[in-house]
Symmetry: D2
Subunit: 148 residues, 4 copies
């Protein structure tokens, strides 16, 4: 039977393998049952004209939480890659931490589709919403991967 990573294991993936997420201080807060929550602390380096958080940083956070959802279902899918990602920016995020909540929409044999909703910490209305597809590694690729 297929096992997924724990939150602790996924934090190790961020810290060792995702320089982008490691650099921006991404922390996995929970992982399991097709859901994941990742928190990104605020840093002035993330800003863009208008004082809000730059879109690419938010997109990187969305991508990371999708990856978390995938590895939370299939621990040997480290070589999964983003196939596509579509994001709507809803409100200018405040200069505050962002909480990203991922939810599995579909886990197939070859593709996983995940939805992500992002909030400024402490706020009720989302700042961004994303959906995306990860292409899962084939069995032979997965066997060759360096699962932590």
């Amino acid at each position: 039977m297929q096992h997924g990573m724990t939150a602790e294991e996924f934090q190790t993936v961020i810290d060792r393998m995702l320089p982008f997420g490691q650099g921006f201080g991404f922390k996995i807060e929970s992982l399991g049952h097709g859901r994941a929550v990742v928190r990104m602390p605020f840093s002035p380096v993330m800003t863009r004209p208008g004082g809000t958080i730059a879109g690419p940083v938010t997109m990187g956070l969305a991508d990371c939480v999708m990856y978390a959802v995938v590895l939370g279902m299939k621990r040997d899918a480290v070589m999964a890659v983003t196939s596509n990602l579509s994001i709507h920016f809803l409100r200018a995020p405040k200069p505050a931490a962002i909480i990203a909540e991922g939810k599995l929409l579909r886990l197939g044999r070859r593709l996983a589709v995940v939805e992500v909703t992002m909030y400024s910490e402490g706020e009720e209305e989302p700042v961004a919403h994303a959906t995306g597809t990860y292409a899962l590694p084939t069995q032979s690729q997965a066997e060759g991967s360096a699962v932590p």
Copy 2:
């Protein structure tokens, strides 16, 4: 009549206002007539498992070239913000520079839609393709903005 920024002016926007693009060394190569080309040099900090360039970095490059296309049409639209962005990852980029080519699909009064095709430098087949919408500032917003 509406004037757009020159490539030199947009480089100043990157260097002063976009820490993400400045940090990854984005350079505008050409700008005008609804088109823009931005080059991102390769750096090991961009990598992800598998040795390829991380998706968020590519997404940030796509977003930057869309912004360039917008400011190349309307120099006073510095406060334009990404409304949505949709990207397809087509091939794993090599550890090499990426060239992003933006093309205006539609410039309306309130929205601009831009298409971006990205290549590993020297290659013919694209590594990624994105489309996105920028919401343009209203006249009163634009007048208050700090155009360089």
Copy 3:
């Protein structure tokens, strides 16, 4: 203060103004508070190779429920138009009715962003998920529109 349409009023919009929805028998089941549910009965004319429901029909249903959400918030926005729509097909729908649930993500002055999840009637797992943006009419456009 802004009022939205009732379900009965939106059904009139479908039947009089949306030949696509009228032809496929779309029925609004509930509308209000940023949410809408539209039911599409099954018909053999909707099928594609493999016996499942054709993508365009599902996309049309997604678009209709987004429009319902918008008009359920702003009854004078009949001239609102789809600006973009992004859909993921998750599972091949059975030859059965589809229930589409729309949820408002953001209502701005110029744009509304809506999320739609679609299910084969009686099933728990979604068959498709869509997000999209409607461009809202300006006040002068809305005043000139033929609100039923």
Copy 4:
């Protein structure tokens, strides 16, 4: 070696297997080398409030030309299914025929990514732009399919 369908063969697919496309009179105009052109004649049944062509009809046309591009590369991929589709509506189409031009962005073993640009016949500026992914059938699925 892999062969693709001819335009004549794909027209047979439309007429026999795609009731949506057949009903709206879709005609394939050219097919080959990763490109396809499909023409949709205008019909009053396609309209929506404002007198323009309804979004779902345009989305159906985009989906059809993507399918044409796929079958123009791999004739045994009749069971390919749309995995996702993202469309931007750029200008309100006139009450006139729409010409949809599809272009292959990537043909992988499991996925094909296609871009589509659509024009009102005789116009230079596009009315809509779409990108999408088709999931290709596995070898065993393809062998079981009813290739015309």
